[in-house]
Symmetry: C2
């Protein structure tokens, strides 16, 4: 018989990795009882620090994330990794070596890796990642690394509420600056120019520097050059990261904003899920689709009719 | 006095570009009456073909999009461009030359460019782009080019329902394949290897080819090498695109799926908007945030309380 939520939460507190994994899956799948479970898990959270690691595809984020985890483990820290990797049905996930490299890391003691492939989950990626982070936090992780591609709006949202955001750039990606223009400059607490043994690394540093000079930050984000594949300067990067995290005192207003956003995200995701499941289940959706295809209705009329009771319910 | 919706829709049909622009803005802002307006606009749509153009930052998508538009205009076609470009508050939008290049194109007769910068609009990007496409369609555009970065899940959704999807790659972006792994392989009807005058272009073609060989497509997507900045092979690319569009007969089941998705997207966006505006307006959200910050409540309890009436309303 499948374990109860209560059993899993108890085992989570006793350090069962299997319970951690199962809880995450059940919450992700929104199995009945998930919301009660999260209510029980919530008071046990608050210890872990979230580090967002973001950058374009091909910047070596996964390798860097792995190296950071490795170094944190050498400092006796417990590490969780959330890899938000839009999957391709072509391959059932990441195509090249990421997964292999990640597996290397997850073999380390005290590193738990969770790969999230929620392609198509409208607006749900962000919230799902937060749920996973909370469960890892309650499990006792000290640091949770969230790795995302830094170009999608949902993906940017995922890291935006992290305690520290690391933006990874790399020499030779088109214009250099192009790769970092996608709304992530302003959320970066720290820049990493990875693959710094390639030509053009100093140019990327200079590009970032000049963009930072254009901004109004009092303490501009530091820039680090690393070669993740060789582990070069990972120690400095992690040390600085931990220092920044220690010094950092997010203002109460920032924390309130994060809570506000978390609530809106949570409600929105649930509402969308309700639309998807209930609407499909009762056949209304198929009726509407048929009428539209037959030219007897249009999407806007359908939506208007559906929203009226919802708006009333929410007033 | 501001024009009425009715006036704007009439002017739209008489070919007023100003009316087109204003209608888009009003619908994007969800000004009162927008849903009635879209109901009136809907029956006038159905002529335009949507072409999705997607790829990582730095692949030269904007230049390519501009060149495609230019060539379509030379064929006496009316073109709309929707540029979905996650903006950065750093710059109030795209940082480098995109906007300039786009302006060049929008000076052409019969090209209308709309830039969308909806950073942070949870799940709304997709729906907003669809609304804009519908209004352009009703205006009389023959082809609508939707340009997005191809790595975010929301951004992938935007092009997924286009009549034809073009995936743009470029030599020298990390692993080559890395850049195209993000769930877009399977939605590509056509690949473009842009900047094909750079070293490694043939390798990218080979990489794509070998990925296609792994797939189960009966007619694999063709691959084109272009140099958008010089206009090289744009003519062939556009000709093939138009041929593909002509041959293509989306199945009724595909069209039904698209309508279904459109409806879910539309309802979801509206629901999320309702949460955001109503919840903020009546002070409930701030109350909830305060209680959570004071440790007297948790997000999951708040959400549960809010969702109960919504679920009832939707049953």
């Amino acid at each position: 018989m499948a374990k109860t939520w209560h059993e899993l939460i108890q085992e989570l507190q006793f350090g069962s990795v299997l319970a951690l994994s199962r809880l995450i899956t059940r919450v992700e799948n929104r199995e009945p009882g998930w919301i009660d479970a999260m209510q029980q898990i919530y008071p046990k959270t608050g210890n872990a620090r979230l580090i967002g690691i973001t950058g374009s595809p091909g910047t070596g984020k996964s390798t860097l994330t792995g190296q950071i985890a490795r170094f944190l483990v050498s400092l006796q820290k417990k590490v969780g990794i959330i890899a938000v990797d839009p999957s391709s049905p072509f391959s059932g996930g990441a195509i090249l070596g990421d997964r292999v490299r990640m597996t290397d890391v997850s073999d380390l003691p005290d590193v738990f890796v969770r790969s999230m492939a929620t392609r198509g989950a409208l607006g749900g990626l962000n919230q799902s990642a937060r749920d996973v982070a909370k469960i890892m936090d309650a499990f006792g992780k000290d640091y949770i690394l969230i790795e995302t591609v830094g170009v999608g709006q949902d993906e940017v949202e995922v890291v935006r509420t992290a305690d520290l955001v690391m933006v990874v750039c790399v020499p030779g990606q088109g214009d250099g600056i192009q790769a970092i223009k996608a709304g992530i400059m302003e959320i970066a607490d720290l820049f990493v120019v990875n693959k710094a043994d390639l030509d053009g690394a100093d140019q990327v540093v200079a590009d970032i520097q000049s963009m930072l000079d254009m901004g109004l930050e009092i303490t501009p984000a530091p820039i680090f050059k690393t070669v993740a594949t060789k582990g070069e300067r990972i120690d400095e990067l992690v040390t600085e990261t931990l220092t920044l995290l220690q010094k950092q005192n997010r203002k109460e207003s920032w924390l309130e904003d994060r809570t506000r956003e978390e609530l809106i995200g949570l409600v929105s995701k649930e509402m969308v899920d309700i639309v998807k499941t209930n609407w499909k289940r009762n056949g209304q959706l198929d009726d509407a689709v048929r009428k539209i295809r037959e030219g007897k209705s249009d999407p806007y009329s359908v939506v208007q009719k559906i929203l009226v009771p919802l708006i009333d319910a929410f007033k």
